[in-house]
Structures are given as C-alpha cells and as structure tokens.
Symmetry: C2
C-alpha cells in the first residue's frame, strides 16, 4: 500500500527528530543474546535509513544486562559511525562513564526514576541518592564536551506505586536539569499514560522553566496509547520522540512487557502529516524485517506487518 496523500495535521511541528532506541532499549530485554556483529549491522542500517540520532548500547554492569555486555565490542565494530554527539550510550554511574570514555563516545545518557520503588529496583538507591550518583557523571561528561541526556522512568504510572503524583515527576526532572543535562526523556515505562496526563506534565514542566526544547517523549504501547500520546505531545510543541525500529522492546508474548513505540508506526503518522524527519520509512521497514529474521520472530510493528505481510 502506498502512503496516502499528505495532509498537514494542524498544530504539529514542521520537523521531528526521532531518537532511535531499538539497539539499546529494544534489545536489552531480549532473552537470547544477539551477536555484536548483528547489533553493529542494525545500527549501520538504521543510520543509513536516515535515523541520525541512535542510542547504540549501554555501559551498565554486564552482570545486570548480559545482552549489552558487548558494548565496547559493538562500538569497535562501528568505528567512527558509533561515535560523536548523535550516538549516545547509557551509563549508570562513574564506572560506566569510564568505560564509555575509554570507548571514545561523544554522548551519554543517565537513567533516573520518578518513583522510589523503581529507583530502588533499578538502581538500588533512593531517588535522591541516584541524583547524587549522577552528579559527578554529568559533571565529568560535560567537562569532556559530551552531550548528556537524562531518562526519567515511570513518569505516569508505576507498577508498585500506581499513580505517580505530578509534582514528584517535576521535582526529579528539575533535579536532573539542575545537574546540567541537555535533554530529558519522559518515560511511560509501563505504557499506561493517556493524553491528558501527557499535556499536564508538559505544562507543569514548562511552568518550572523546562521548556519543550529540552524534552523528548518515550512511550510504550502496552495499553495501545503510545502513538496517540506521542502525537499529543507534538501538539504541545515537543519535537524529539523516542521510538524503536520494529517496535523492539520487551517480549511481544509476555504480559506488561510490550515494546516501545515502533519507529515505523510513528513515521507513517508523521509522513502522512507532512512532518519532516529525514528518515526513509521503507529502509527502516526492511531493517526491521531483516532483524526479525535474525531473531526468529516477527516484528510487532503494525506498519511492518502491513507492508511486508509477515
């Protein structure tokens, strides 16, 4: 099926930057370790498709995420393509930063939590302690001239705490911005958010001086809301969207572990509305199809399914 005629969608930005997370966030929950060569080839293909902001890997403790224990190897395989300010890597702490700097990266991302329970489970620290842990990471990264991103998980709902008060999210965002990070990524980690919450959080952040120019949005499709929430954020002026090629992320067969917003489904919406992204949809679809073959199961992206018949 060809893309239907373009019709501008009132209120959307003219251009959107896709922050491609498939190679890191998408793969990190895969039970079967994907070879480093496949990861490097995935990133090469994504970049060739026009996705020029690609998170490549993670320098967390390999014992925590065995899937990404090959971070340095993936970057070695990529050479210059894996470096620079448009190829961030995840780092949890100074040890991770050391390894990232050793690998010569040009951008890093730290990952905080809006809730105490998830901070404990994911970082083994309170929210305040995790912010304190990030401070020297951000200081040193900035001192080295790196671009720095800060993820905020569980911005809308938390599987243990339920509702997450807006003020609590704003406080964590403010603390991260005060550390000196360049961009926040607001995460709906369990995919429960609806549009009103998205608008409310963006407006609350704006009210404390964190404008949409420093915000990316990161939605999961667990409850089918990812694209709708993303488009609503764009109507509020956000221009950076996290998505994952093929909807990689979590296992499509397991409860409450469905994937990130699929890059292809996002691209379909944006291209239809005439929003420029610089990305070749067909090339991303073929990349997801190739990766599905490598992983032995179909892509959960609806656009990939519709266009390839897989």
């Amino acid at each position: 099926m060809r893309m239907p005629q373009l019709e501008p969608l009132p209120g959307l930005p003219e251009r959107v930057t896709i922050y491609e997370v498939g190679a890191r966030d998408g793969l990190q929950n895969e039970p079967t370790v994907v070879p480093a060569a496949v990861k490097a080839e995935l990133i090469r293909r994504l970049v060739a498709a026009g996705l020029d902001l690609v998170e490549t890997t993670s320098f967390v403790n390999p014992a925590w995420v065995p899937q990404l224990a090959d971070a340095a190897e993936v970057l070695d395989l990529l050479g210059d393509l894996g470096r620079g300010p448009r190829r961030p890597v995840l780092v949890p702490n100074e040890r991770g930063l050391d390894r990232a700097l050793e690998a010569g990266v040009g951008a890093v991302a730290v990952f905080g939590s809006a809730t105490e329970t998830f901070a404990r489970r994911n970082l083994n620290r309170s929210v305040a302690e995790s912010i304190a842990m990030f401070r020297p990471v951000v200081d040193r990264a900035r001192g080295e001239g790196l671009w720095v991103r800060g993820y905020v998980s569980m911005c809308f709902g938390d599987p243990w705490e339920g509702e997450v008060p807006l003020g609590q999210v704003v406080d964590v965002c403010r603390a991260l911005i005060d550390l000196g990070i360049d961009q926040l990524s607001l995460g709906d980690t369990i995919g429960v958010a609806t549009g009103g919450q998205v608008v409310a959080l963006l407006r609350a952040l704006d009210a404390v001086g964190i404008g949409v120019d420093r915000i990316g949005v990161h939605f999961h499709d667990t409850y089918g809301q990812a694209l709708a929430n993303t488009l609503r954020a764009l109507q509020e002026g956000v221009t950076v969207v996290d998505s994952s090629a093929g909807g990689l992320g979590g296992c499509p067969y397991a409860r409450s572990a469905t994937g990130n917003l699929a890059t292809e489904d996002l691209l379909w919406a944006l291209q239809g509305a005439g929003v420029r992204t610089g990305v070749d949809l067909e090339a991303v679809v073929q990349t997801s199809r190739w990766l599905a073959g490598q992983m032995g199961r179909p892509s959960p992206s609806r656009v990939v399914k519709a266009l390839t018949g897989d």
Copy 2:
C-alpha cells in the same frame, strides 16, 4: 494495573458514544462460524457492560457472508434486547430490509463506498447505482420509523485505487445524507489514514453542511493509527466512535486484515481523559476474554492483553 489518575485532555468532548461493531463487523470475517448462541451471549454481555449502541448482525445475502446467515436466529435469541433504535442491523438492499423488518428491528445501516472499485467488489454496482439501491431502503425504513445509518467505506485510501480524492468522499457522504439517513460512519477500511486526512475530511464535510453531530468515525488499526485518528476526530467535535470489543475483525495473523479499533483501548484513552462513556471497561475486558476462549485465540486488544496476561 489500575487506571492512572484522570487528567482531562483539552479539546475532547465531555461524553462519547461508542458504537459497538464487534458482533457484526468484528465477526463477519471469521473463517469459522460462531454459533448463534455465542453471538447472542456476546451481545448480552456487551449491553450489560454499558455498551448501549450495539450493531447486532447483518441481513446481507447469506451466500455472501455465511458467518451472519443466522441473523434472524440471533435476534430471536435476544428477544427485546436485540430490538429498538439502539440495535442496528446491516441491510444492503430491499430484500435485506424485508428480512430485518420481519425480525422487528428498530434501526438499520446501509453500506456505501467512496470508491468505484470497492463499490463494484462489495456491492456489484457503481457508486451511483448503489446510492440508487439505498434510496427505497432508506425511504421505507424511515417510513417505518427506523433510525438509519450509512457507512462509507474507503474514505481515505483504497487498496486498488490508492489515494481517494476528498471531493469524491464528500460527494458520497452528501448523497447519503440527502437520502435522509440519520448518521454517517466514515470508514478507514484498510487503516491507512493519518490525522491530517481525518481533520481535512471532517472540515470539508462541515463546509457542505454535514456537521459532526451526524458523523461517527470508524478506524482500523492496520497501520497502528486507529486510536490516534479517533482522538483527533474527537478534538474536531465528533462524539460517536465505532469500535470492536477485543479488537475483533479480520484475522490478526493475516496481512492488511487487522481489526477494528479495540473498544478496550479506546475506553482506556477516554477514561484516562475523564470522558464519560457509560461503559464498564473491566466488564468489556472480561467479555473479550470470554469470547477469545470461545474462539480459541487471544484478543488482539493491547488493553485486554495487558490486563488479563493472555
């Protein structure tokens, strides 16, 4: 997971009417015939969940749609619950209307096409000939005091013709309204539409005197756009949305035949935004789960999967 806190979504209507199509549009493509007793039980459960506008069945020629050959039997099993102005049935022509009137229904729907190719394939007639065929159906139905709906298929894209010119869709809508029908249902039959097209069509219809008070929207999720398009239509003032319990419709495993917008995914979005529907989400989820058991395969609704772990 509990529904997160309510946050009104600016620009949405206070109340939305869900037009539940699962029992008819959802089931009609099922390859295995579902017993009439299961269909009747499905409708009883949907109504008990608060879905008070439910399309029950279709009086098309049983040779065309064997799945719905039991229309009269389903209505017999339902008794009064299957009658009245809130229980439409599909009728293609006067023969179908005869059977529907014999069964004592209180509302009917005709189904037109915005494209010539689909009109030929679905109705074996040109668009103009199909409108002519509907005229005596609508006249007689209105004479009997029935509520009358008109579906318009392929409003945004057509698998044979590709792009569908806006003016062509408006002309078909205008012709149906001129017949005297009460409500249009604008269908994205192959799920390719994006938000700008939705806004453009609604505004073009308004410009020819067809306001949102006479419009329902009907999206399929083939390209992952159904919920986003629906919410955008609500922002334009539409208050009637077609959806299908559990996302029934088409086969979830086949290309370009994915289902209708899932009623549960729509309800999640609307409840989160504080939009009233009168529907009990949990009861619909349990209904879809029960039906999935009857049909031997899981519901494609993301909310059903997330809430039930199926």
